[in-house]
């Protein structure tokens, strides 16, 4: 549905995207996972035909992002990272406006947005600028869907959103996926990776790994251990001084440790056990391997 081949984009000396390639299946949720500055927004702007790549090709829905840009704009929905609706129009007016721009009506595709729009419908006479963060997000998603796009691009829809609202948002995405819409979504929250069918881990314009979340975890190269103590910071400093420790960092209530020979030594009064890595552990390891830790 979306195929990207060797896309490169530079801003002055900064390489925003370097040889990025991937392809998504039809009707899947494909996650672009990476921190600020990784190149996620640049990639989304190229795929939505708002920015030209320096080199490489990208096909969205069988259409070329450079040659067929006008057609692509009719077939995709885009929710930018920054709230981009008309703040001085009401909820209802925004939705009607976007439907009209795409030559359709809210009524025609109402079934698609119903689940999301219903939640903000009681406020339909309120100006978009006066909505809470979560409601703005729901309105923006409704507007991106109102013309029934085949591919939906969501650029960091959950950034700065609390964990409860993030969970709700992902529930909405699952429902949209059932309607057959292909969804490309970017996020800096590593825990959201598990909710995608495929993910690309991206850092400093380079894709470090692409796979299913399960397979990325399976490909973790080392044995990962967890440990904790009364003062994790003190233990962290102690472990970092040990010659047999390859890497050690805080992770929730535990410290995560990789040992050079992949076995945990006996350390007096310290309980250490083997654990399954998370996507975040994989990301940290890949950052180290790619030597892009800054």
């Amino acid at each position: 549905m979306v195929t990207v081949q060797n896309i490169t984009k530079q801003y002055g000396k900064t390489e925003a995207l370097k040889n990025v390639s991937f392809s998504t299946g039809v009707g899947e949720i494909f996650g672009i996972i990476g921190p600020d500055g990784a190149g996620k927004t640049t990639l989304f702007r190229i795929l939505t035909t708002l920015l030209l790549p320096d080199s490489g090709t990208a096909i969205v829905n069988g259409l070329d992002v450079v040659k067929d840009y006008k057609q692509i704009r009719n077939n995709v929905g885009y929710m930018p990272g920054r709230f981009s609706l008309y703040q001085d129009l009401t909820v209802e007016e925004n939705l009607n406006f976007f439907a009209a721009v795409f030559n359709t009506t809210v009524k025609e595709n109402y079934y698609l947005i119903k689940g999301i729009y219903k939640q903000i419908e009681p406020f339909k006479k309120r100006k978009a600028g006066a909505l809470s963060g979560g409601m703005k997000q729901k309105l923006a998603l409704s507007c991106a869907l109102v013309h029934k796009p085949e591919v939906l691009f969501l650029d960091e829809p959950t950034t700065g959103v609390d964990p409860v609202s993030r969970k709700e948002f992902w529930e909405m995405l699952k429902d949209l996926k059932k309607q057959g819409i292909t969804i490309l979504v970017s996020t800096p929250y590593m825990d959201e990776a598990a909710l995608c069918d495929h993910i690309a881990l991206i850092q400093l314009g380079r894709i470090m790994s692409i796979n299913t979340p399960q397979q990325i975890v399976a490909e973790y190269r080392n044995k990962l251990y967890a440990t904790k103590s009364e003062s994790n910071y003190r233990l962290l400093k102690q472990l970092k001084l040990r010659s047999d420790v390859a890497s050690c960092y805080i992770s929730g209530e535990y410290l995560h440790v990789v040992f050079k020979n992949n076995t945990a030594p006996f350390i007096e009064n310290v309980e250490i056990h083997n654990i399954q890595p998370t996507i975040e552990d994989c990301f940290i390891q890949l950052m180290g391997v790619n030597n892009v830790d800054r």
Partner: protein, 247 residues
Amino acid sequence: MLTDKIIVAENLTKKFGDFTAVDNVSFTVNRGEIFGFLGANGAGKTTAMRMLCGLSKPTSGKGWVAGFDIWKQSEKVKKNIGYMSQKFSLYKDLKVWENIRLFAGIYGMKDKEIAVKADEMLNRLEFINERNTLVKQLPLGWKQKLAFSIAIFHEPQIVFLDEPTGGVDPTTRRQFWELIYHASGQGITVFVTTHYMDEAEYCNRVSIMVDGRIDALDTPAKLKQQFGVLNMDEVFQQLARHAKRSG
């Protein structure tokens, strides 16, 4: 008032018209602790934090920060705290060194003292070669580490951090927390908001705001025990799920 309590809030309330943003909130923060201030979007965290920083007067209730009354001594409160947010922390068009001088100068530090301490700080952060770099040219993670170091440069008794690690890569996020631990070890109290629930675990105690009230306040271990769950994310989900104001 006891000196080991760096924040004392008693029935703090803030109303905007008929909307009660902060609803009768009482809590204390111990000197030197890392205090996590969590809550759903719209729960009232920012409003509460603005009152504690002396930027907004409560509608009713009392509060002391660093020993000063937030009603009567808000200027003294401001001089004795540090503040950093995700959205605005440094002037992008100024150099690293110029930002340090500007903020330290605002807090009344002498040029000579600034110069010595700035080099010391930049060396510790391994930023010394970036002394004359414009802040806008720094990667986000560096910017946030620098912003934090500048927020505590005048050695405040307490520093307020408003979502300091949003969007920062996982490795730099952890380096940032090591800076927090270090500052806490130096006796600086850290008051921090975050949406990363793993970071809630790094705090000595955590409060969770729902609809303007503090519905839970304890150590992460005790909160997990109290709610019978394995991590702070589940504690948060249980408390905030039924919030009327969330979303």
